[in-house]
Symmetry: C2
Subunit: 81 residues, 2 copies
DNA sequence: GCGGATTTGTACGTATGTATG
DNA sequence: GCATACATACGTACAAATCCG
């Protein structure tokens, strides 16, 4: 799904892709994100690129990372009121 | 000045070192930080490590980075009132 | 409690792209 | 054209903490 030829950096594309899954509730609050090595293999990216993407999500407050544990969804999809 | 044997990560040590220079006014508002490659040579670190340190400073709001231009001090030392 | 697997953290090196001067 | 400087992306290695059988 990520495209090496696009002008958008790969880590940004991956971050957007994961952010979308969180926003849509496909990954919900408290759930672990796929591990870095999984995402690496899944998308054919280097680990550093995956880590850059996760850092973006962390900065957006969408996930929190517990060292040696994993990265977890910290975002709760806004429900209609 | 950075110590590979210390428990503190090298990029953190470098960030603290540069932050100290900014806080003390040795690097003042608007001045460019030494370039990544300079810091790399100066401290005997890898480029990625230097970049990680600069990222910390950016996150603290101490510097701003203008791509392809350089990184500049964005912090104005608090003057006694 | 032990050992191995997993997962994130740190650090290195290298290559290429892009913008500036 | 050339040098400088940051951005992206790859790969590798090892450390440290956690988890699970």
């Amino acid at each position: 799904v990520v495209n090496p030829l696009a002008p958008t950096p790969l880590y940004q594309q991956l971050a957007d892709l994961l952010a979308g899954q969180i926003e849509r509730g496909e990954l919900s609050l408290g759930q672990p994100l796929p591990s870095e090595s999984y995402l690496q293999g899944e998308h054919g990216l280097a680990r550093g690129t995956v880590r850059a993407a996760v850092r973006v999500l962390r900065e957006r407050g969408l996930v929190i990372t517990a060292p040696q544990r994993g990265t977890y969804v910290a975002y709760h999809k806004r429900e209609p009121e």
